[in-house]
């Protein structure tokens, strides 16, 4: 034994024990796992929450010094980002300018033209300011942040934003900081608007950048009520020099004193920006997440055969996610701080760790034999897959190890995370998922038990499980013969996934809840990321709503008296601008103004004339009103990122500028006066905010109503079903919504009624059909040939010995045991006489049989009334004559025949002593007008179907023929002893003289005969199906064999089942499906003999198998119909039937499945898994149903049903 094998066995054993452990103590293990997950995730609490909003930190100006890079432990309140110098210092000069006193001769443009014009002189002043002291001479050039090129994508901003110099931004940038350009500009507003982006924009606009205050506060518009223009000159400094800034501040204040300004100047604010996630970065991220979800979806879709698919899928996802969290937590615990962007690498980690192991585990456990104990199943499933799981894990670890040696830090970190994630994932799989799986399997067993028990006890209605009807409704058409299994509306409908999702959404009101939660989250995020913005916005709203003249009135009493004071002081202040050098004496009278609140009463008389310049607390940090992306976007124009860095904003320098009306008129552009005066600016201004509010409200309401209507329509369209009233919807669905409508077929209720073919005295044993004719054989050995279209009985081939002997045998008197050959000869001559006129001959034959009925029906007295009343078109009196011709059309072709092989069971009324039964027909085939019948004595007979004459027979074999296949000129017979005989039928003459050429004797006739009996004697060939020149047999020795029809050579022996083969299907595509007693279904490729897929679907035998072009349908002893996808082997869905209702299957069209079981025939819609109709119920144990349909399917599929 090699080391590998030893290792493998040890691993397998360990997994087995582990599986036992997990399944034995599920609850403690789950508790333990949860505890360990929580423990490992605990360090994550210390990680900062993700967010993009900037963080602020305020320090004093006086004792400011650039923070050092090293973290200092003593300063507890300092945030950890406050290290090192900031990217830049921002010095804003906040200018408020107004023309005062306001003159009625002034035009609206004057409100902002001359105040804006003043920016150029201020700029000059700032640029040329020089501070000199003992340490040297400093100018702005040496201190400011020097910028280079603009970002390449911003060519059109080149004219506006500064390049190759100081980053100094002001409204003057619109005119290249040149007074001449400004003066010659005819339309200032147009120039400003020119650079605004079209449509919606979220980030800071150019106007905000240059003005430094939000657009609505600038006052640059024609409708400015306050007539105060506000803008800033923003100076970006690279280094901080307190003395220079101090002198600049003093200088500006001296030039333009702001009298009533009490702004605090002792605080500087440091703003730290998080990693900016722009939409461009979001797109790849979103894409990876979409791919991730698709991966998870496609993976969890494969979970099958469990009690709760969604539960297990959730468990799988939880496993992976919590393993990731654990890995991050563990890494944090051991001091590895994650530097990677978690959101970005997360999908890749999930993909690396993968859901495969979980799926493999589930599949393995599910495919263990169902009759085992749950514990053992889990243990077995685990140990089966142990080797592959370990191998995969080792491979992945190896790959990650290789990745670790790339020595790239980012990849190394990723690999570290992945390793820890893999290990924790393994841990969770072993402990968490396995336990969940064991619980699930146990639940399934319990449900199974519950469902089985009442069925076996014979309790009729109360069946727990998904199929239980809420109440038993009266059947829609109460007739003694129609039994609905359950009313379709009450069935657990197998709807398509799309509809199920919609139903789910509709049922749980998921969309509404998600929208609600989303809104709440969104608001929360807004508040979380931009608290200052919302607060200032709200504050602004409040202040705007207050009446005119109020701002600064009640709240700020010291400012009240400003206007009258200034009126007097105007000339001096305007004059003081030009003679800059000499310091303006600090006017005492302005301070007096503060003491005159009594004059407040005079104020309302003059408000329109005098614009007030007030300085409030909101001006102190005016930048707060800007978008929080303001600074990042300004810097990003120069390709400087602020992500994870901070800037320091220095206290603003207030500048108040008052201009005289003369000055305003002087600076006018000639075209300004031509500008039309604003149409009733007052009204519009007053109503503007209100109107906006109303508009928004109306729009919101309309949108809401529209949305509700849309959702309602969607709901009505997608969910036409009325849950409460089954009757109405039932009818509607039947007529209109059937998918079969594509094929021009809809099964109307009235047209499907079976045609009753009567004549057999005993249970029907075999059935064969070729579309035109239908041959049936009963237990008594009598063969009848029917016209499949009309239901006429054409020929009766009685059993050797005749019907009368049968009846004798039935009566208990043993009939004479005649030799077989004699019988057949006698019979042949007997039928041979009336070979000319089939029909006339056929009727007398049946008439002879008709009188038998009463005697037989003594045993089953309740049968006749049951049958007859069902068919309204056929009067019961019709029985004696020909089988009734119903008033409807039959489908022309009966496509398939089902050979129900049932060994002659010693039922109650078949006396085993009678020797006649030994030669009963076990298998029958009909081709053309030839009937091949294989008898239990091993005799093969060939009858003419029309004439009822025996063409030939072969008695070489002694073992009973269990299955027959008749194709072209070949007959293949499988015998009880496992031998397979190939016969050739030779048609020499057009007169249909037949001759056997093939003989089971070895080598007797050269060309074709063959005898192949490789099987052990005990094994029994149960099925043989043929197609495309191949004969396929399935036997009790667990093998499927494929023979070639021409030379009867065994091509393949397919092994894969662990039980006898019970069902086989093959079609022209050379795909073979086989089902066995082990409940497994195998799909094989006949050309290569390879197994395509192997699935377990049933508990117990697979009784029947049918394939359509897209799916494989199987039914089993567990009354379950499973529909599998043909190419992938994935189970699409399964239908649970009532006990004994699904013994055999047939497919009429692509989407119509027919099941016939003990006493009922059901139609199923394959696309939906929906029960269409249960046709009829007959209390006959051995009912065989055959379905014919025309190829065009315009006609109704008819159902032929027979009983004795």
């Amino acid at each position: 034994m090699t080391l590998r094998k030893q290792l493998r066995e040890k691993i397998s054993a360990a997994f087995y024990r582990h599986g036992l452990l997990c399944a034995s103590y599920p609850v403690p293990i789950i508790l333990f796992t949860s505890a360990s997950i929580l423990t490992c995730c605990y360090p994550l609490l210390r990680l900062p929450l993700p967010g993009t909003g900037p963080v602020e930190f305020t320090t004093g100006v006086r004792d400011y010094s650039v923070p050092s890079h090293e973290p200092q432990g003593d300063l507890g309140e300092r945030p950890d980002w406050y290290r090192g110098p900031p990217v830049a210092y921002i010095q804003q000069v906040l200018v408020k300018a107004a023309v005062s006193p306001w003159d009625s001769s002034l035009v609206p443009v004057d409100v902002f033209r001359s105040p804006l014009g003043r920016v150029f002189s201020l700029l000059e002043e700032i640029r040329n300011h020089v501070h000199s002291d003992s340490s040297g001479i400093r100018s702005l050039e040496s201190l400011c942040l020097q910028v280079t090129d603009l970002f390449p994508g911003l060519r059109r901003m080149q004219s506006v934003l500064p390049e190759h110099g100081c980053l100094l931004v002001s409204p003057g940038n619109y005119w290249q900081n040149q007074r001449e350009l400004f003066d010659s500009d005819a339309d200032l507003l147009k120039t400003i608007q020119k650079h605004e982006p079209k449509g919606l924009h979220t980030s800071a606009t150019l106007r905000d950048l240059l003005f430094g205050v939000p657009g609505k506060y600038t006052g640059v518009s024609h409708y400015n009520r306050k007539r105060v223009v506000t803008y800033t000159i923003t100076v970006v400094l690279s280094s901080y020099d307190a003395r220079f800034l101090g002198s600049l501040r003093a200088r500006l204040k001296q030039l333009h004193p702001s009298a009533n300004c009490s702004l605090r100047e002792d605080h500087m604010v440091h703003v730290h920006f998080k990693e900016e996630i722009g939409i461009a970065e979001l797109i790849p991220l979103v894409t990876t997440y979409i791919i991730l979800f698709a991966y998870i979806y496609f993976s969890t879709r494969k979970i099958d055969m469990v009690k709760s698919k969604w539960g297990l899928a959730l468990a799988a996802v939880v496993t992976v996610l919590s393993s990731l969290l654990m890995s991050v937590g563990l890494c944090t615990l051991f001091g590895l701080t994650p530097t990677l962007n978690g959101g970005e690498i997360f999908p890749y980690l999930v993909v690396v760790i993968g859901l495969e192991n979980v799926l493999v585990l589930t599949k393995s456990v599910v495919s263990t034999p169902v009759d085992l104990e749950v514990k053992l199943r889990i243990a077995q499933g685990l140990s089966n897959e142990s080797w592959s799981i370990m191998k995969n894990m080792a491979t992945e670890l190896c790959i990650i190890l290789i990745g670790y040696f790339t020595l790239v830090p980012a990849i190394q970190e990723f690999c570290l995370f992945a390793v820890v994630g893999l290990v924790s994932d393994f841990f969770l799989q072993m402990f968490f998922f396995t336990t969940v799986l064991s619980i699930d399997i146990r639940r399934m067993e319990l449900a199974d038990l519950n469902r089985r028990l009442p069925a076996e006890a014979g309790l009729p209605p109360p069946k727990p499980g998904p199929l239980r009807p809420r109440e038993v409704p009266p059947p829609p058409r109460p007739s003694p013969h129609t039994i609905t299994l359950q009313t379709p509306a009450f069935r657990n409908l197998r709807l398509p996934k799309r509809l199920r999702v919609v139903y789910f959404l509709a049922r749980t009101r998921l969309a509404q809840r998600i929208i609600m939660v989303g809104t709440v989250i969104w608001i929360g995020i807004l508040v979380y990321t931009d608290p200052a913005g919302i607060r200032t916005y709200l504050a602004a709203q409040v202040s705007e709503q207050s009446p005119l003249g109020d701002p600064g009135g009640a709240g700020l009493p010291p400012h009240l008296g400003v206007a009258p004071v200034f009126r007097g002081g105007d000339p001096t202040s305007t004059l003081s601008i030009h003679p800059a050098p000499d310091p303006t004496p600090l006017p005492e009278n302005q301070s007096q103004g503060h003491h005159g609140p009594a004059r407040a009463g005079l104020l309302p008389q003059a408000p329109p004339a005098v614009p007030q310049i007030t300085w409030g607390a909101e001006d102190e940090e005016g930048w707060r009103r800007l978008s929080f992306r303001h600074w990042p976007s300004l810097f990003s124009y120069y390709n400087i990122t602020l992500a994870k860095r901070y800037i320091s904003i220095l206290p603003v320098i207030p500048v108040t500028v008052h201009l005289s009306p003369q000055e305003a008129i002087e600076t006018r552009h000639p075209q300004d006066t031509r500008h039309p005066p604003p149409p009733i600016p007052k009204v519009s201004a007053d109503l503007q905010t209100d109107l906006t509010l109303y508009k928004v409200a109306a729009l919101g309401l309309a949108a809401g109503v529209l949305l509700v209507l849309l959702l309602f329509c969607l709901y009505r369209v997608l969910c036409p079903r009325n849950y409460g009233q089954n009757g109405v919807s039932h009818g509607r669905r039947r007529r209109g919504d059937l998918p079969c409508d594509d094929y021009g077929y809809s099964p109307p209720v009235s047209e499907i009624s079976p045609l009753l073919l009567r004549g057999h005295s005993m249970d029907i044993e075999c059935l064969a059909s070729d579309g035109m004719l239908l041959a049936s054989c009963c237990l008594a050995g009598q063969i009848r040939v029917w016209d499949a279209q009309t239901g006429d009985c054409l020929t009766v081939i009685p059993k050797p010995g005749g019907c009368w002997e049968q009846r004798d045998g039935w009566d208990g008197v043993g009939g004479a045991t005649e030799p077989e050959c004699l019988c057949s000869e006698a019979h042949g001559s007997y039928v041979g006489i009336d070979g000319l006129s089939e029909e006339e001959e056929g009727y007398p034959l049946r008439r002879r049989t008709a009188p038998i009925r009463p005697t037989l029906f003594n045993d089953q007295p309740d049968l006749t009334p049951l049958i007859d009343t069902n068919f309204t078109s056929q009067p019961p009196s019709h029985l004696l004559s020909t089988p009734p011709r119903a008033g409807f059309d039959f489908g022309g072709l009966v496509e398939r025949a089902y050979m129900e092989h049932e060994p002659p069971s010693p039922s109650a009324y078949t006396s085993p002593s009678s020797a006649d039964w030994e030669s009963s027909v076990w298998a029958m085939e009909l081709r053309g007008n030839l009937i091949a019948a294989g008898r239990s004595s091993g005799k093969l007979e060939l009858w003419d179907a029309v004439e009822g004459s025996l063409r030939c027979s072969n008695e070489d074999g002694v073992s009973g023929i269990t299955a027959l296949a008749f194709l072209n000129n070949r007959i293949v017979a499988a015998r009880l002893n496992g031998s397979l005989d190939f016969f050739t039928v030779e048609i020499n003459k057009p007169l249909c003289l037949l001759q056997y050429r093939g003989a089971p004797l070895r080598g007797s006739v050269p060309p074709s005969p063959c005898y192949s009996s490789e099987d052990v004697i005990s094994c029994q060939l149960t099925r043989s199906v043929h197609a495309a020149g191949r004969v396929v047999t399935g036997s009790q020795d667990h093998t499927v064999r494929i023979y070639r029809l021409e030379d009867s050579c065994c091509l393949f022996t397919l092994q894969g089942h662990s039980g006898g083969i019970t069902a086989i299907y093959i079609d022209q595509t050379m795909v073979l499906a086989s089902g066995g007693q082990d409940g497994a279904i195998c799909l094989w490729d006949v050309l290569t003999g390879s197994r395509v897929s192997h699935v377990y679907g049933h508990r117990g035998d697979v009784t029947s198998l049918v394939c359509t072009t897209s799916c494989v349908i199987s039914s089993g002893l567990d009354d379950l119909i499973c529909i599998w996808d043909r190419s992938t082997g994935i189970k699409l869905y399964s239908i649970q039937q009532e006990a004994g209702c699904g013994a055999s299957l047939g497919v009429i069209s692509e989407s119509l499945l027919v099941t016939g079981g003990q006493g009922c025939v059901s139609f199923w819609d394959l696309n939906f898994g929906d029960l269409l109709q249960t046709l009829l119920v007959l209390d006959n144990a051995a009912i065989v149903c055959d379905f014919g349909s025309e190829l065009s399917l315009v006609y109704v599929p008819s159902v032929l049903e027979k009983l004795d």
């Binding site: 970002f151 994508g153 911003l154 982006p197 924009h201 980030s203 900016e276 722009g278 939409i279 461009a280 970065e281 797109i283 790849p284 894409t287 990876t288 791919i291 991730l292 698709a294 991966y295 496609f298 993976s299 879709r301 494969k302 970005e344 999908p347 890749y348 993909v351 993968g354 859901l355 790959i399 290789i402 990745g403 790339t406 020595l407 790239v408 980012a410 990849i411 990042p632 976007s633 990003s636 124009y637 390709n639 990122t641 602020l642 992500a643 594509d742 094929y743 079609d1067 022209q1068 595509t1069 795909v1071 072009t1109 897209s1110 043909r1126 190419s1127 992938t1128 692509e1150």
Partner: protein, 242 residues
């Protein structure tokens, strides 16, 4: 990345067209409008091509963004528009190339007579796409010490991708061939000045090109094969009908 698929299209257009131009076939008697449309081979081919095309365009746009991010740390608001406007022909070319490759792979599989059976599931395909995006991500976001390291890492990753999701020799050889041809075509384009790299570091770009090409070819082939499964199914159905 944009450059990548462009070149792919150049190299595969010639080979792909001829093989698939004559594959149209008349339709069987109808069984329903949808089924018949699906069953029609030409239509099916067109549908598959369209799907592959859209996937290619989408990936090209997204990966283009990733590559642009390599040089830009932060996006000014109008960079996105400039991305979409600068080289409008790049995404369609990528789409065409991916359609060609996605159709070529199953064709070659059927020509060689060895159907690809390794991991034919959508989940595996999704995993493959995710790894491909991850490789692009790594090449765009991770800072490598030098070019050799970058290209070696990327090569290892690409081969790992092939080994994990493909493992077919035909896929490998086709991938290598197309990658080489595409790199060559790209170089020619750049020499002739049709296309320019945003980053002037020429050698740097060249080092990661073939690996990305290779990974892209493998991914697209994977998607194409998975899509071809459906066609196979329908052809089966048709022959069954016959």
């Amino acid at each position: 990345m944009s450059l990548t698929l462009t070149a792919m299209s150049d190299s595969t257009v010639t080979s792909g067209r001829q093989q698939w131009s004559g594959s149209g076939q008349t339709l069987q008697p109808p069984r329903g409008p949808f089924i018949s449309v699906i069953t029609n081979r030409t239509t099916n081919l067109l549908i598959r091509g369209a799907m592959l095309f859209s996937v290619g365009v989408f990936l090209a746009l997204v990966l283009n963004l990733l590559q642009v991010q390599r040089n830009v740390t932060l996006f000014p608001p109008d960079v996105i528009s400039s991305i979409f406007s600068s080289a409008w022909w790049v995404p369609p070319c990528c789409g065409t190339a991916s359609a060609m490759i996605g159709l070529l792979y199953p064709c070659i599989d059927s020509c060689l007579g060895e159907p690809h059976k390794f991991k034919r599931e959508w989940s595996s395909v999704m995993r493959c796409v995710a790894v491909f995006v991850g490789i692009n991500h790594a090449s765009a976001k991770v800072d490598f010490a030098n070019n050799v390291q970058l290209s070696l890492t990327l090569a290892a990753l690409s081969i790992g991708l092939w080994w994990t999701f493909d493992r077919s020799r035909s896929g490998f050889s086709l991938g290598v061939t197309i990658a080489l041809l595409a790199t060559l075509a790209t170089q020619l384009l750049v020499y002739n000045g049709v296309f320019q790299y945003t980053s002037p570091d020429f050698l740097y770009i060249r080092s990661w090109l073939p690996c990305i090409f290779f990974a892209g070819v493998i991914t697209m082939g994977n998607i194409g094969r998975q899509l071809a499964l459906y066609e196979y199914k329908f052809i089966q159905e048709k022959s069954h009908q016959d």
